[in-house]
């Protein structure tokens, strides 16, 4: 056990608030968002149109994720990826998630950690067991359950650090004409204040009320309305001032222009 792990474990054991970060430790960086739907082309077409985004070309043959039981389309808005997923088989867990939620919605927030061991230690200190702790395409994936954080929060330690399996740097992605980037979003949870505080400790964010800032992105934890827990809104930086304040509801997520 190194010094950082020991500090986190001690804090949890004593029931005292944990330090959000060891000095010099880099905050988590939000890299992409996942929307789940029963009709991926329908959702993708709306996003392409509303954001003025050239459709991502499909490679011939089965997609990578089809082996895992779902279709996936990746698209890029500025430095942020959006992934739209659709289950293929009736017994895929996405179907249960869609049924429970009552339709399409924001499924996951994906982020980059720069120290996977420290993240695991902080999770232990919070008495949180990752729902996944595995290597995926050579990169360490650590996932936290949506029942706790509203949406799945999935973190990777990427290698190389500035690119990853979605290939945002070199992939076949166009630029959105309407928005320059995704700068945050809303996640609906049962107890926004408690989850915001814990997310700030666990993912090394800067808490302000029920919002947590991770570098240049902010996640707001908001109360659940109806059955719509999870990622319920995304904030996009509008290229035109005239579009600030506009929004579009796509795939159960409100795309807000800010």
């Amino acid at each position: 056990m190194d010094r950082r792990t020991m500090l986190a474990a001690t804090g949890a054991f004593l029931g005292t608030p944990l330090m959000a970060a060891v000095p010099g430790e880099r905050p988590t960086r939000i890299r992409h968002y996942v929307i789940a739907t029963h009709d991926m082309p329908f959702v993708c077409d709306q996003i392409y149109e509303v954001l003025g985004l050239p459709p991502t070309p499909r490679k011939p043959g089965p997609g990578v994720t089809e082996a895992y039981g779902f279709y996936s389309t990746m698209m890029r808005v500025g430095t942020t990826m959006l992934e739209i997923v659709q289950p293929i088989k009736p017994d895929h867990h996405l179907n249960a998630w869609l049924a429970e939620r009552g339709g399409d919605g924001g499924y996951m927030v994906v982020a980059q950690t720069y120290d996977d061991r420290a993240l695991i230690a902080r999770a232990g200190a919070e008495w949180l067991k990752p729902s996944r702790d595995m290597m995926f395409k050579g990169q360490h994936m650590i996932q936290f359950d949506d029942r706790h954080f509203g949406a799945f929060f999935e973190l990777y330690q990427y290698a190389p650090e500035d690119n990853w399996w979605g290939d945002p740097l070199n992939g076949p992605y166009g630029d959105a004409r309407v928005a320059s980037d995704v700068i945050g979003g809303d996640v609906a949870v049962a107890d926004p204040a408690a989850i915001a505080a814990q997310a700030a400790r666990l993912f090394l964010g800067e808490q302000s009320g029920n919002s947590v800032r991770f570098g240049d992105r902010t996640i707001n934890f908001v109360p659940i309305e109806g059955k719509a827990h999870g990622l319920v809104a995304l904030d996009l930086k509008a290229r035109e001032q005239a579009r600030v304040g506009d929004w579009a509801r796509i795939g159960g997520v409100q795309f807000r222009f800010v």
Binding site: Q46, E49, P54, P55, R177, R243, D246
Partner: protein, 235 residues
């Protein structure tokens, strides 16, 4: 109750074309009207348009300028340009959304666009794109029919109707449109205050296929011309 007090209006029609200049020129000749207002929104929205006004109804001609714009796919499906959309005005967007949900209709647009509620339906159901706005101004919108000095047509004083070809039974579609827009239905016709939309069986082509205009010169009643794959009829 606001819906009951203010009936839905048919505000404008949209024709899509790969060649805005040619379509505009042909339409100007038929309508005896000066060019409308051009807007180049290619950088942000990927298309350019021309707005004209016939009476109180707008006619919008749109041309995609980006290769990835969805209108290019629509041209491929449609076999070229044609009548693309009918745009309405609602006065209670939330009530409208609730009616759409009750009809189990999916929305292809559900958004605030330039500050105004915009709701659009899948063309697969209604033949053409049906889109409605709740405008933030009581009697004006981004086309600015009130503030701008639009040229007047020497041929027609207004638009009074349209034909939409559908694949489902026309009376069934008309009934549903009547429920959505809270407008009276007579068979396959829906009356929107001063305009009538007729749903007709699609025979090879679906969508907005004809527009009825009130002739200024009674002697021209019955004249018609096919422009932009839409039949323009003087009545």
């Amino acid at each position: 109750m606001q819906d009951a007090i203010k009936p839905h209006l048919m505000r404008h029609v949209v024709l899509a074309t790969p060649d805005l200049d040619t379509l505009s020129g042909t339409l100007q000749a038929f309508l005896k009207i000066a060019p409308g207002f051009r807007n180049d929104m290619g950088a942000i929205l990927g298309f350019r348009n021309e707005m004209m006004m016939i009476g109180s109804t707008m006619v919008e001609l749109v041309q995609p300028v980006k290769p990835d714009h969805r209108l290019n796919h629509w041209f491929a499906e449609n076999g070229g340009g044609g009548g693309y959309m009918i745009v309405f005005q609602t006065f209670d967007a939330d009530a409208f959304r609730a009616r759409a949900a009750a009809e189990k209709l999916r929305l292809t647009r559900d958004m605030l666009f330039r500050g105004q509620d915009l709701i659009q339906f899948e063309p697969a159901r209604f033949g053409t794109h049906l889109e409605t706005y709740r405008y933030s101004l009581p009697n004006g919108w981004w086309g600015d029919p009130v503030g701008r000095d639009y040229p007047r047509s020497g041929t027609a004083s207004g638009i009074v109707g349209a034909d939409v070809a559908v694949e489902a039974p026309p009376a069934e579609i008309a009934a549903q449109v009547g429920r959505l827009f809270q407008s009276p239905v007579d068979g396959a016709r829906v009356r929107l205050v001063d305009k009538t939309i007729r749903f007709v069986p699609a025979s090879g082509r679906r969508g907005l296929i004809a527009i009825d205009l009130t002739a200024i010169d009674p002697a021209t009643r019955g004249h018609k011309a096919t422009i932009g794959a839409v039949e323009w009829r003087l009545v």
